[in-house]
Symmetry: C2
Subunit: 357 residues, 2 copies
């Protein structure tokens, strides 16, 4: 049976990327050696990093005064490294859920944190808007897509202070005006690579804003100055990231994937809104294109476990909602084909026929 | 042409591990999903972590009062995390080369560092012995194998204070009396896995010795308490690590690999000592089984580039010595077959015939 991979993360990668990764593990570039057994300082791997850099720049229109680097670990590592590098006195955070809260918790060790806005009053089912941004902040931190709740910023925020964004789960899924951000970072295990590597896009002037002496590995300068080679980088995830960027370019780039993502999301949200058994959990204007959350409609709540089983028996993988929201979550990352969304919609319609009152 | 992979790291992994990794990327455990596209919280991956833990314990006879955890990053991450966790006032370090120096540099941010012994006077070509260990140290840090210089501790040190060892490049290559160590850690990219994961073996009581409030990701407690799942772990490197441990068990465990490693090293060192064109660079009693360093003998120095080309033309990969030592380095990690050492020895003998005066 064909599986439809709606995992929230680590999550689906393009099939051709997976196949190329498997081949590179057996024999990298016809070298007779496995990609897993080569030095990160070989020309062949340096070429991988250089190509990833060039593709990232091209696909996201990254201006020349921004640097890209990769490090091992995850976004959780950056939750403390961002304030360690930049928080001298006070930073602003927008609280849009669990990942924002974790970032806030880690930042409090380094200075004063002002939570400028929060959607906690409604269990994070919307993105706060229209809040004031004081001009005395060292930076403002946002989480652009919230995997657990299925909310997403659909516009790049304008900020009078340096804007730092965790884009772990929507990087490269839509066009972004990079110039509005001082730094963008994220774990790569959604739209880019397997787990184990963090990407960061940082405006050069931010490197001069390091506010304290830091361990070499914690200072962003170290990784920029050493071109992500200060220590042995996570070679394999970076290789897969480069292959994913190649794939994205080959299908038409960010504009095309954005079109596909909107189309997939529109299909599924339309079914959620139409089907009397289900309802969406998120304010319509803030619905994520990446993580689509829904629950059983009132009166059908007891059918939730049955729908999960039903969907599973038809090949749906990973659609159980996070325990903080309940219900269902269909993660529709870049690599998820439209057919998978169609299969889920068909599944919901079939379930409706069996159970609608 | 068959390649003989003497890379210093990332380095050779067992061929069957590479093949299993490639298969898991295409289809993990017959799930119909790639290992790169599954959640780290699935039962199948939790089983991988549990099996790695059990095998690690079995292969190294790790006592029950030790915990094992894995995190993204590299040994360089632990260079600051070890002092961040344990250094309240003063720690002792033994300086056996570049990696020790880096560890010392990062530790100085957190307290007083006493370098108890160093082999810098002879370019780190020996392991210092017989130095006094003050009893008022928070811990003593050593680097058990020095990849760049080819030196290695051949006995577990007895220390009156907690002994912390970076075993990045000789973990599982020889039996170790774990009970003599408070903590063992290392980048896994030599004898265990591809780059991107750090392993740590820590005595439980050390978790209570955290001396300061730390970011969640920096505190060793976090990773032990969350069974390496506080954040998304580097799934693929951990899987490969587990497969490497399986392989090691299948061939007879640490005793057997130690026998093979001694045999391989003996073969190559014997040739270095016999062949009039070459000489070893390290004090004989401290010669590493993992990284075998040698240079052209006096009078033959100008032949070095030619020997490199000669060896390369016969399939030898990665035998150029580190720039701090010069000459040649043959890294003979666990997965390097005896035939590769024999091929290198044959190469040296052939070169001797052409060039001996």
């Amino acid at each position: 049976m064909k599986k439809h991979n709606f995992n929230a993360g680590p999550s689906i990668l393009p099939q051709e990327v997976i196949e190329r990764a498997a081949r590179a593990i057996v024999d990298f570039n016809g070298s007779g050696l496995s990609l897993l057994s080569i030095s990160h300082r070989t020309k062949d791997f340096e070429a991988v990093v250089a190509e990833a850099d060039a593709l990232f720049r091209e696909l996201l229109n990254i201006p020349d005064n921004y640097k890209i680097f990769y490090v091992g670990g995850g976004a959780s590592t950056l939750f403390y490294e961002v304030p360690a590098n930049f928080l001298a006195k006070k930073a602003g955070y927008v609280n849009t859920g669990v990942w924002s809260k974790k970032a806030i918790k880690e930042a409090k060790r380094y200075g004063e944190i002002e939570v400028l806005a929060t959607s906690e009053d409604k269990n994070f089912t919307y993105i706060p808007k229209g809040f004031a941004i004081p001009e005395d902040l060292d930076y403002l931190h946002i989480t652009t897509n919230n995997t657990i709740y299925g909310t997403e910023y659909h516009e790049d925020l304008s900020s009078p202070v340096p804007l730092v964004a965790d884009m772990s789960s929507d990087i490269l899924s839509r066009p972004v005006d990079i110039s509005k951000y001082a730094m963008i970072y994220g774990g790569a295990q959604k739209n880019l690579a397997p787990a184990g590597v963090v990407f960061a896009i940082i405006r050069e002037d931010m490197l001069d804003k390091q506010v304290r002496d830091l361990p070499s590995m914690v200072s962003f300068r170290t990784h920029v100055e050493n071109n992500s080679m200060y220590n042995t980088p996570p070679v394999f995830p970076i290789y897969v990231l480069m292959e994913t960027l190649r794939w994205l370019k080959s299908i038409g780039g960010v504009e095309e994937i954005y079109r596909r993502n909107r189309e997939k999301a529109a299909l599924l949200y339309a079914e959620i809104d139409r089907n009397p058994l289900f309802r969406g959990t998120v304010a319509k204007e803030d619905r994520s294109l990446m993580n689509i959350c829904f629950v059983m409609e009132e009166g059908y709540e007891e059918l939730a476990p049955e729908f999960l089983e039903f969907a599973k028996s038809r090949g749906m993988v990973g659609i159980k909602g996070h325990r903080l929201v309940g219900g269902f979550r269909a993660s529709c990352y870049n690599a998820l084909p439209r057919e998978s969304v169609e299969a889920l919609v068909a599944c919901m319609q079939e379930f409706e026929k069996e159970h609608a009152k």
